[in-house]
C-alpha cells in the first residue's frame, strides 16, 4: 500500500515537472526555448519568442544579455552551427570568426575594414528595418551618422552614401556602410552604370566596358560557397544565401577565367586584373584594355 502511494506520488511529481518545463530545452546549465516560427519579429503578449534567445534565469555563463554567448556570436548557434534554421557561413563558425578576405567577418582584417557582426546588418528584433523592394531579411536601416560606416573622408559628403528607411535597391542599402554608390565617371569610386559605347578616349568615342556596373553585385558577384561545410549543414530548404556572408570569391569578387575577359570564377586575389578584364574586355579578344585602348 505504502509502496503504491510512493510510486503514485512520484509519477504525479514527474508529470508535474514535465508540464511545468513546457518547451524549455536545457543546454547544460542553460535553458532556452526551442524556436517555433521566426523569433525575430512579431512579439505579442501571447507569443513565445523572447525565450528562444534570452534565458531569464538560465542564461549561459560567459554570455551577454542573457544570450547563449556574446552578442556578436549570439546568432551562431541557430544560423551557423546547428543546422536547425536558415544557415549561412557554410555552417562553419570559423568562417564567421575568421580573418580572410572572403566574407563579412566578426574578426575583421588588418586593413581599413572594420569587423562586422550579424547585428551590424540585421536587426535581431525586427525594429528599425529598411524597406527594400522584394527584400525581407530584417536588414537594418542606417542613419547619416552611421557609426559602422567605413570612414572615408569626403565620400559621404560627396553624396555616395544613401541612407533612409525606404530604398530602391540593395546597392543603396550597401552604401550605408560602404559609401561607394557613384554614378559619375570621374568620382572617387568606380562608376555604377550600364556599359556605354561613347566613352571618350583621347577625343574618340568608344566602348570601354562590356558589362554593366550598375549594382554593387555587378562586380561583387560571387554568390556561392563551395565548402567544406560545417558538421550540421542543413538540407536545401534551410540553406541561406552565401552572399554577402561568405563566398568563394575574395571580397565577393568574380574574375574572368580567360585573358580575353570571358568566363567567370571566384577571384583568388583582391588585386587580380581578371576582375577588371571581366568587364573591360569584350570576351572575344578584339576590343578592350590593352587591345584598342
Amino acid at each position: 500500500m505504502k509502496l503504491r502511494m510512493v510510486l503514485a506520488l512520484a509519477i504525479v511529481v514527474a508529470l508535474g515537472l514535465v508540464a511545468a518545463s513546457s518547451a524549455f530545452a536545457v543546454w547544460g546549465d542553460s535553458t532556452y526555448l526551442a524556436a517555433s516560427g521566426n523569433p525575430h519579429v512579431g512579439y505579442l503578449t501571447t507569443s513565445n519568442k523572447c525565450g528562444v534567445c534570452h534565458a531569464v534565469h538560465g542564461a549561459k555563463l560567459g554570455g551577454e544579455k542573457l544570450l547563449q554567448s556574446t552578442a556578436a556570436d549570439a546568432c551562431s548557434y541557430c544560423h551557423i552551427t546547428s543546422g536547425l534554421y536558415t544557415t549561412v557561413y557554410g555552417g562553419d563558425v570559423n568562417l564567421y570568426n575568421g580573418a580572410d578576405n572572403k566574407g563579412h567577418s566578426s574578426l575583421g582584417i588588418t586593413d581599413y575594414d572594420a569587423s562586422v557582426g550579424c547585428a551590424d546588418c540585421h536587426t535581431v528584433h525586427g525594429g528599425g528595418t529598411v524597406t527594400i523592394a522584394g527584400s525581407n531579411r530584417n536588414l537594418r536601416t542606417f542613419s547619416a551618422n552611421n557609426s559602422f560606416a567605413q570612414v572615408r573622408t569626403g565620400y559621404a559628403a560627396a553624396g555616395y552614401q544613401v541612407v533612409g528607411a525606404t530604398l530602391a535597391d540593395m546597392s543603396q542599402w550597401c552604401s550605408g556602410c560602404h559609401p561607394y554608390r557613384n554614378t559619375g565617371l570621374n568620382g572617387l569610386t568606380h562608376v555604377m552604370r550600364s556599359a556605354t559605347t561613347t566613352y571618350s578616349v583621347g577625343g574618340v568615342q568608344m566602348q570601354v566596358a562590356w558589362s554593366t556596373s550598375a549594382a554593387c553585385s555587378s562586380c561583387h558577384s560571387s554568390a556561392t560557397y563551395s565548402g567544406p561545410y560545417g558538421a550540421n549543414w542543413p538540407a536545401a530548404a534551410l540553406q541561406g544565401v552565401a552572399f554577402p556572408h561568405y563566398t568563394d570569391g575574395v571580397r565577393f569578387l568574380n574574375s574572368a577565367t580567360a585573358d580575353n575577359g570571358s568566363g567567370s570564377a571566384a577571384a583568388t586575389v583582391a588585386s587580380q586584373d581578371g576582375v577588371c578584364l571581366k568587364c573591360h574586355r569584350d570576351g572575344v579578344g578584339t576590343n578592350g584594355v590593352g587591345y584598342n585602348f
Binding site: 580573418a99 580572410d100 578576405n101 582584417i109 588588418t110 586593413d111 581599413y112 572615408r152 573622408t153 569626403g154 560602404h178 561607394y180 565617371l185 570621374n186 568620382g187 572617387l188 569610386t189 568606380h190 583621347g202 562586380c219 575574395v250 574574375s255 574572368a256 577565367t257 580567360a258 585573358d259 586575389v269 583582391a270 588585386s271 587580380q272 586584373d273 581578371g274 576582375v275 577588371c276 578584364l277 584594355v289 590593352g290 587591345y291 584598342n292 585602348f293
Partner: protein
C-alpha cells in the same frame, strides 16, 4: 627532488613556444590576406614595388600592358573605391598628369623624366621640353598620353616592336580610311623591320608634319633639312664637287636634336637645350646645349670639321 617544478617549467615553455608559433603563423596568414594596397592619404592604390613580387606578376617589368587574369596591375593606377578626388577615370590625377606620381614627382618608378619636377612638365617654357603648359597658351601642348600608350594596347602602337618596348603610340599604317596621311608620306609608318633610330625618326613625323610643311626628307632640296649620312660628293650649283660639306650624320631626327638623345631625358626635358639642340664650333669639339634654336653653333657642329674645312672654309 625537483621533478615537479622541472616538468611544470618545460610544459610552460612548450606552451609559450606554441603560442609564439601560432602567432607567427597567424601573422603570416594575415600578411597573405592583405592585398598589398598602399594608402596614400585617403586614397588606395597598389604599390607596384610590392605587387610586382606576386606570382601573377612574375616576369612583369611594369604595370603597363600584359594584362591577364592573374596579373595585379590595374590597381596600380586605378583605384576602384579609393580614387583621388582630383582624379579622372579612378586615377590619382587627371589624365594629363596621371603619370606624374610615378615618373616625375614623387617619382616612385625607376624611370624618371622631366628632371623629377612637375614644373618642367607644365612650365610656360616650351622650348626645352615637350610639355603641357602651352595648351593654356593656345598652342599645341603635349601630354604623356600623346606619345605613350599607357595600356600598351597593341592596336594603338606601331608595327615596330622596339618602339612598343617604350609603349610609344602610333598608327600602324601610312594613311587612314579617308586617305589622310598619318605620318609624313616621305617617311611612312615605322616598320617592324626598322632599326630603333630609323623607326623613331619616322615616328616623330606622327606629330611633326602637316599638310603644308614636313620635317622628314632624304633629298637635298626639299623644304626641310636632308636626313642622310655625309656623302663625300656634294655638287655645288656650278658643278664643282665639294666633297664633304657635313662631317656628322643627319640621318635621324636625333642627330641634330641630340641633347640627351637615346637617354631618358630625350625628348622629355633637356635643361638649357632649346628644342633638344646642341651647339659647337665644329665637329671635333664637344657639343653643349644650344641656348637658342637660331644660333649658328647648331649648324657649325656638323658643317665644320675643325681643321679648316666646311662652311666659311672651303665653301
Amino acid at each position: 627532488m625537483r621533478t615537479g617544478k622541472v616538468t611544470c617549467y618545460m610544459r610552460t615553455t612548450k606552451h609559450i613556444a606554441l603560442i609564439v608559433a601560432l602567432g607567427a603563423a597567424f601573422a603570416l596568414m594575415l600578411a597573405g590576406a592583405v592585398p598589398a594596397f598602399a594608402t596614400y592619404g585617403n586614397t588606395t592604390y597598389l604599390d607596384w614595388d610590392v605587387v610586382k613580387l606576386l606570382p601573377g606578376n612574375a616576369g612583369a617589368t611594369s604595370p603597363h600592358g600584359g594584362y591577364v587574369v592573374g596579373t595585379s596591375k590595374c590597381g596600380v593606377c586605378h583605384s576602384v573605391h579609393g580614387a583621388a578626388a582630383a582624379g579622372e577615370a579612378l586615377l590619382q590625377d587627371d589624365k594629363a598628369n596621371a603619370c606624374s606620381f610615378c615618373h616625375i614627382s614623387p617619382g616612385v618608378s625607376t624611370l624618371i623624366v622631366y628632371g623629377g619636377s612637375t614644373n618642367n612638365y607644365s612650365l610656360t617654357d616650351t622650348n626645352t621640353a615637350h610639355n603641357t603648359t602651352s595648351l593654356a597658351l593656345g598652342q599645341d601642348g603635349v601630354t604623356c598620353g600623346d606619345c605613350h600608350q599607357v595600356h600598351a594596347a597593341s592596336e594603338q602602337m606601331t608595327a615596330n616592336g622596339l618602339l612598343s618596348d617604350k609603349i610609344l603610340s602610333g598608327p600602324k599604317t601610312d594613311y587612314n580610311g579617308l586617305g589622310d596621311p598619318l605620318y609624313d608620306p616621305r617617311a611612312g609608318a615605322p616598320l617592324g623591320t626598322d632599326g630603333y633610330e630609323d623607326a623613331l625618326s619616322k615616328w616623330c613625323t606622327k606629330c611633326h608634319f602637316n599638310a603644308a610643311y614636313g620635317y622628314y626628307s632624304t633629298s637635298y632640296n626639299d623644304e626641310t633639312h636632308v636626313m642622310r649620312a655625309p656623302s663625300g660628293g656634294y655638287l655645288a650649283a656650278n658643278g664643282t664637287n665639294l666633297g664633304d660639306i657635313a662631317y656628322q650624320s643627319s640621318a635621324q631626327c636625333g642627330d641634330c636634336h641630340s641633347r640627351g638623345y637615346l637617354t631618358g631625358t630625350w625628348p622629355h626635358y633637356t635643361p638649357g637645350a632649346a628644342r633638344f639642340l646642341e651647339s659647337a664650333g665644329n665637329a671635333s669639339l664637344a657639343a653643349t646645349a644650344a641656348a637658342t634654336s637660331e644660333q649658328d653653333g647648331v649648324c657649325l657642329r656638323c658643317h665644320k670639321d675643325g681643321v679648316g674645312n666646311g662652311v666659311g672654309g672651303h665653301y
